[in-house]
């Protein structure tokens, strides 16, 4: 993956480019950037979890609210789908590291498929829930938290789509596979966050 920042000035380059920056850390810039971004994403979820805490614990409201039921089984199935997608993502990365182009493509496609399945199931769940966000504060935060997470699944799938397109166009190798690894880290974050959301919203 071409570095998004400084390009190395090739010896034959007639146009005077920038000097190559010194690497003052063994941590790769793109990976560090993604990790820091994930920290800010965790904090967004933190804000929504705070709302959840106030509506459920501080207010003492029943959970779920009267007349609202949460489909734990379907959501549990969805959890399995998402966890599997992390496995396929990991498989794809390992394939890239070993120059296994077929497995890389298969892994990326599988991850996309599983991730999309998650979204479809979730949207279907919304349609059939039987309550709307404006029915209660509990409903509001339920849709808020799961919706926030769904939006992040969408972002993750978009990043993975780019990586998949590039994989099919022949990019990535054992030496240079940050373009798979970095979106993969984001995808794993989305997965872990789902487990937390699922546990605290559906199970607790």
């Amino acid at each position: 993956m071409e570095a998004a920042s400084i390009s190395t000035p090739p010896a034959h380059h007639e146009h005077h480019g920038p000097p190559e920056a010194n690497k003052s850390s063994s941590v790769d810039a793109q990976t560090l950037g993604m990790l820091l971004f994930i920290i800010s994403e965790i904090m967004v979820f933190g804000g929504f979890f705070t709302a959840y805490f106030f509506i459920r614990v501080v207010n003492g409201n029943p959970w779920p609210a009267e007349g609202e039921e949460l489909p734990k089984i379907i959501a549990g199935f969805n959890t399995a789908v998402l966890l599997s997608s992390s496995l396929t993502m990991h498989w794809a990365l390992e394939a890239a590291k070993h120059n296994n182009r077929k497995a890389l493509k298969a892994g990326m496609l599988a991850t996309l498929l599983l991730g999309s399945t998650f979204l479809v199931v979730q949207i279907n769940e919304y349609v059939h829930l039987g309550f709307a966000p404006y029915d209660s504060a509990q409903a509001s935060i339920f849709y808020g938290l799961t919706g926030l997470h769904g939006a992040h699944v969408f972002i993750g799938l978009t990043l993975l789509l780019f990586a998949t397109i590039r994989a099919f166009r022949g990019h990535f190798s054992a030496e240079e596979h940050r373009g798979i690894e970095v979106p993969g880290i984001y995808w794993h974050f989305v997965d872990v966050m789902w487990v937390i959301v699922y546990a605290s919203v559906y199970l607790l």
Binding site: G17, V27, L32, T50
Partner: protein, 643 residues
Amino acid sequence: MPAQLKAPGWYRAGAFILLGLAFCTGLVTLIRSLYGYTPLIDGEAITIVSMIGVPLFFLVGLGAFDYWFYWASGKDTRPEDHASHGAHSWRDYFKVNTDHKVIGIQYVCTTFFFMFIGGLMAMMVRAELAAPGSQFVDGQDYNSLFSVHASLLIFLFIVPVFAGLANYVLPLMIGAPDMAFPRLNALSFWMLPIAGTLMSISFLMPGGAFASGWTAYAPLSTTQPLGQMCFTIGVQFAGASSIATALNFLVTIITMRAPGMSFWRMPLLVWANFATSLLVVVATPFIAASQFFVLLDRSLGFHFFDATIGAGREGNVIMYQHVFWFYSHPAVYIMMLPGFGIVSEILSVKSRKPIFGYRMMAFSLLAIVLLGFTVWAHHMFVSGMQSWIRVPMMITTAIIAVPTGIKIFSWLGTMWKGVLHLDTPMLFCLGFLTMFTLGGISGVMLAMVPFDIHVSDTYFIVAHIHYVLFGGSLFTIFAGVYYWFPKMTGRMYSQRLGKIHFWATFIFFNATFAPMHVIGIQGMPRRVADYAEQFAGWNMAISVASFLLGLSTLLFLYNMVNSWRNGPEAGSNPYRALTLEWQVSSPPPIFNFDEIPTVVGGPYEYGVPGAQHAILGGRKPEPVAVGAVASAVSDADTETEES
């Protein structure tokens, strides 16, 4: 298709704005028809979705995402031709440019533009408050004035101007050719005029501009007309800009320092922006969350803050304040820590002495970052939250005075026995030291719950915040702009005009805000368009002083514009400073350095015989005359710490 519409730029951006409007209108109408809502065309819903969507289309049209689209589609990598790097004419400043120096200037100019607008609103506020009763505006318009004033000055001035100054200086200071992510840097900048425009156009909305303060407490903010959404959505763009910049700063500082620049050889400006960026990354998402809730409650009927829906299903009103202040308290440190860095740079150079207690200065920055997350509820002592929270928050708030005090005293120690060059940047730093101390003192007073109960939401608070934000942050911003003006423009500003600007500002600033302490304790609440007769005299005096304060900023504006165009040429290092930005030309070459320098010592070794901060391209830097030590070396307190 005409070439102008295919190439990134303003023509294409304009076309995309229209496209975005059409898309958002279509999207809203489609969804409404699917749900069976009537009427099908809902102006308010379209406006709200457009406020989110059209700016994104604008950014695409302008070219902020061009490279990423190309990369995402997997086409072959193009060699970088640096076409969008560096400024060769004034037009480049109005484009998507990846040069941190260009972006820095774009930031400074844009933020000062909004500073003048926000300042103008302050003048209108003071005009209305000069006498009791209603003279120029009614209650709702008045509420809009101070709300937009504060929002513009906080989100469109103080927070981003520091980001802009650091954007310019930081890569130079650490010996890097640019930031880690130059395209993200450009995107960060362009989100800012979007945020400012959104907030400013709120005046055109039916029902007027947003009017629930920059704090936008629910349920007032969730029951307001459309203008409130301009704040709600504008803040999201400003927040995204801020977070992206912070990510960039952190990765740049961690991964791109010149060889030999350990963390303990970094200038304190770098430390300060490192600390600030940590705050931004962790805290800013909370204001995003709070505004998501307001948007959902107000526009989609959610019940996060609804206490009236009925028992067993109601939301929590105070929750807004907890989420909001969890960001907004660290925000005040985001608005001050970079200023601390600027003061360290200027004081050291202008006193010709190392920073006193460099390590503790760095540690105190980190301490403020950590402690800053533990004090938010001191904004909520009378909010009706659980009463047990008050005393712990009083304690944590009081504790923050300690690392802050360490910094003030260390700056005094830096000046002590130095050779003081009392030019404009130095004067603003000295003004900062005294005025920020006053603001900090009123802050410790406010930490004390019994006193805060009486003065919360009064003019005492207004006094405190302006002492720390104006006497604190703004003074350091002026200091930094004057200080780096020659580096950024290659020209020197008028020193005489600068000093007049300082004195006018200092005097009228105090005349404006000092009396507010008194009327606040006396019983005048804040955010009021009208007040009891007993406060009339003081308010008139304050208003007159504030008009003079406003006028004094014109001196600054004139000096900057005139000097940029006609000022005498400044050399690369007019201050004989040691840090790296002064070792290259003014303005610096397009890629900063021909060769990455090697750092061999600390950045503040003034007075240390033979000391060097860095070696550039194999040759020694311009000799910074290490003059005779100012006083006899037998001083008992000369203790050289290993840097």
